[in-house]
């Protein structure tokens, strides 16, 4: 649906896109929020799907750390080895790719085989 009442892609659309992209022969990774502490912007279970060109759909943080997740996802698409990423104020990279809300999240990134 493209009308203004549904601006946000649902998880269903996101996972359907992951399937469609992979079936079209593209390298695809799925990033999933598996744990949150504090006031994290997106709930556990939220997905971001990324293809080998860096195209993406969905969200794991509402924009705060998507860039870093996409860059790791490209490595995962290349290597096939899943990765656990962690972002938050305790992280020394917080000022660079942190969550402005002060929360922390763990994101699991895996390749679609």
């Amino acid at each position: 649906m493209t009308d203004a009442a549904t601006p946000v892609a649902t998880d269903e659309d996101i996972l359907a896109a992951a399937q469609a992209w992979r079936e079209a022969g593209r390298g695809v990774a799925i990033a999933t929020v598996v744990e949150t502490w504090g006031s994290a912007p997106r709930p556990v279970g939220s997905h971001l799907v990324i293809d080998e060109e860096g195209d993406f759909l969905g969200s794991v943080s509402g924009g705060c750390v998507e860039g870093a997740v996409i860059s790791d996802a490209l490595d995962v698409i290349e290597s096939g080895a899943p990765r656990m990423l962690e972002f938050g104020v305790a992280d020394e990279t917080a000022w660079r790719v942190g969550l402005s809300c002060g929360g922390r999240i763990r994101v699991y990134v895996e390749r679609v085989e």
Binding site: D3, A5, T6, V8, T10, D11, E12, L15, A16, A18, Q19, R22, E23, I30, T32, V34, E35, P43, V44, G45, P82, M84, Y108, E110, R111, V112, E113
Partner: protein
């Protein structure tokens, strides 16, 4: 994730069936457990608990080590019986709030696309509509016609399908007669008490749009019952 697993997961979602994707975070091993298969799974207890709460999360100390349970429940949906004024306001509001919306009314004078743009509209009797789109626990049922011929069969089906919300428009007198009919149809008091009537939160709503706000608020309140400060 293996593509066949992702395909199977998407198929469950498309069929509006709940499923849980179990990921071993140490090994990366994964399996899809459909709702009907939970009892046979080694993690049955944790899976039932996660599904009941509708929440994804990590189980740190399972017999399999640290696992992530990704709970996939169908998108919540509102089925409205009656293509009336309130529905005209409720449909766009509900879609903004993230619900899929379907309107059912066999009265073709009411159920016109002009009155309901961008909404799934079925100008058939509820029995026929529900045959192709069965009610389930992830559906809210809103009966707004106050015509027993149209509302009652849907309410009957909604109670049997354990819809997470059931609301019916009508005065106290209308509802008292409805309760009589439901009793005669064999429903017990606990089942009948699941119907929100008078429909909507008590916000003194007057206009159709205000009533739609009160109904949508009541639906969200049922969906998020476990987060409420006053359950």
């Amino acid at each position: 994730m293996k593509l066949p697993l992702l395909t199977a997961l998407n198929a469950e979602r498309a069929a509006r069936r709940a499923a849980i994707l179990v990921t071993n975070l140490a090994s990366g091993e994964q399996r899809l457990v459909r709702e009907a298969e939970i009892d046979a799974d080694p993690l049955a207890g944790a899976l039932h608990d996660a599904l009941r709460r509708g929440k994804s999360g990590i189980v740190a100390e399972s017999p399999e080590g640290e696992v992530f349970l990704n709970v996939q429940v169908p998108p919540t949906r509102i089925l409205v019986i009656g293509a009336v004024h309130i529905s005209q306001a409720l449909a766009p509001m509900a879609r903004i709030a993230g619900f899929d919306v379907t309107i059912v009314d066999p009265r073709t004078a009411f159920a016109t696309p002009e009155r309901f743009p961008n909404v799934e509209l079925l100008d058939v009797w509820p029995d026929e509509a529900l045959a192709s789109r069965p009610l389930d626990r992830y559906t809210a049922l809103v009966a707004l016609t106050h015509d027993p011929k149209i509302d009652d069969p849907a309410l009957d089906a909604g109670l049997r399908a354990e819809c997470f919300y059931i609301g019916a428009l009508g005065s106290k007198k209308t509802h008292a007669r409805r309760v009589e009919r439901l009793r005669d149809a064999g429903f017990d008091e606990a089942a009948i008490a699941r119907i929100h009537a008078p429909i909507g939160l008590d916000i003194g709503a007057v206009s159709p749009a205000e009533i739609a706000v009160s109904v949508l608020g009541e639906i969200v309140g049922e969906l998020r019952r476990d987060r409420r400060r006053r359950p």
